[in-house]
Amino acid sequence: MRYFCRTAHLPGDGIIACNVLFFFAFLASFREQLPTPGSNHRGRRGVGAARRSCWTALARALPVLGLGLALSTPALAHKLRVFAAAEGDLITGSAYFAGGGAAGGAQISILDGQGRTLATPTPDAQGRFSYRVQAPADLVVVAQTGDGHRTEWRIAAAELAGAFAAGTPVPAPTNGSEPPAAAPTAAAPASAPTAAAGAADAALEAAIERALARQIRPLREDLMAAEDRTRLRDILGGIGYIVGLTGLALWWRSRRPNR
């Protein structure tokens, strides 16, 4: 079914909706009323009757399945997530619900290492927010809605250190801050031509790391989205456990017929 989803480019959540409908359709299929009142409704039916009822269940489920597929829209999972990355000294991020919906109504707080609130940027309708950092430090971005969703994302000081390396907050690489930081300070006692060359190297390296951070950021966001995706095997696993526990309980019961 998962392969079918992928090749047909169907959203997997529509299949989930179909499964819910399929449960009720399956229930509906076992509705043969026995002709004589008072006889056991779940009494012995022949194998042929059971097979027929399975086929009628399938036959009834298929149009329901088809309807569900036709109406399937990208449904949203239910976990609030937040992602943020630093570009220079500017932290930009977005709050969203795992599965694709934007959390435009979430409250964002930026906390420092001691839990003090540094800022509360307001997200736009797509849940995006930004914050300009004053000094490199470990930060925690917290997103919450009023009814109990809460999630956080940590930004390490190393990610921000590049912007503050030479003491001037210029757009700088988001990681690997040592080469551009060391180059200007180590070049200070050197002669002028070497200092100029060192600064050019540092500027080149800073530009490279900026471009690299820009390219990697979508990859990180895709990784987060992939982690959050609800997989069919999780659903099947959960339903399998429910069926298994029920079977265990019924087996346990069958060992004590006098209860």
């Binding site: 959540d13 819910v20 449960f23 239910h78 809605t145 009814d147 609800t230 659903i235 456990y241 429910i242």
Partner: protein, 206 residues
């Protein structure tokens, strides 16, 4: 949102909720009606999957709770079914958390119990159009009581009540209406095709 994640509630609320949920579960397991186990399994699986389809409303998103339906159809057996489904949701989907499992179970199970105690005896009457309204009442009551317990859990942990209450009212009132409609429809449907489901367990104490 009916699943509170880890890190939102305070420790006394978590511990109290866990103990109360354990006590209720013990009572429910002693009263477990084995004849209803297959139905309990199907409803538990439906509850398990229902949380995957959530709709954005206002600042948050909601999903069908189905605890009113479970309480109405299963009675006390709804408690283990809810607990197992919540546990599996925490394991497989990461909804809610393990420390919060007790409080989440209580928030969903107590409304289910309320629906069972108040509305299951009414099913014994078995009238045609009444069944739809009993189902609608169960659906709406389940959602509203869950929202109330959610607000109480958040307030007991010291969070500001007014903003939480605003968000809850905004998101759960539409859900209550939708769930009332769906539960009523399911009840009417079941009465047509499988009336024994509605009267199962009627003879024994709820």
């Amino acid at each position: 949102m009916a699943h509170i994640p880890d890190g939102v509630l305070s420790a006394p609320v978590l511990i109290g909720g866990a103990l109360a949920a354990a006590g209720l579960l013990a009572v429910a397991l002693r009263r477990l009606d084995y004849e209803q186990l297959p139905q309990a399994a199907v409803l538990s699986a439906a509850f398990f999957v229902a949380s995957l389809i959530s709709v954005p409303i206002g600042p948050s998103s909601v999903h069908l709770l189905l605890n009113g339906l479970m309480g109405l159809l299963l009675g006390w057996s709804a408690l283990p079914a809810l607990f197992v489904a919540l546990l599996l949701q925490a394991v497989f989907f990461g909804f809610g958390g393990f420390a919060v499992l007790g409080v989440n179970t209580l928030n969903l199970a107590l409304p289910a119990l309320a629906c069972a105690l108040l509305l299951r005896p009414l099913l014994a009457g078995g009238g045609g159009p009444r069944v739809f309204w009993i189902g609608a009442a169960a659906g709406g009551l389940g959602v509203l009581l869950t929202a109330g317990l959610l607000a109480a859990s958040l307030a007991a942990s010291g969070r500001a009540l007014i903003p939480a209450a605003q968000v809850l009212v905004l998101t759960y009132l539409p859900l209550a209406l939708v769930e009332a409609l769906i539960t009523g429809t399911v009840l009417a449907f079941l009465q047509r095709v499988e009336p024994e489901l509605l009267s199962a367990g009627r003879t024994d104490h709820v």
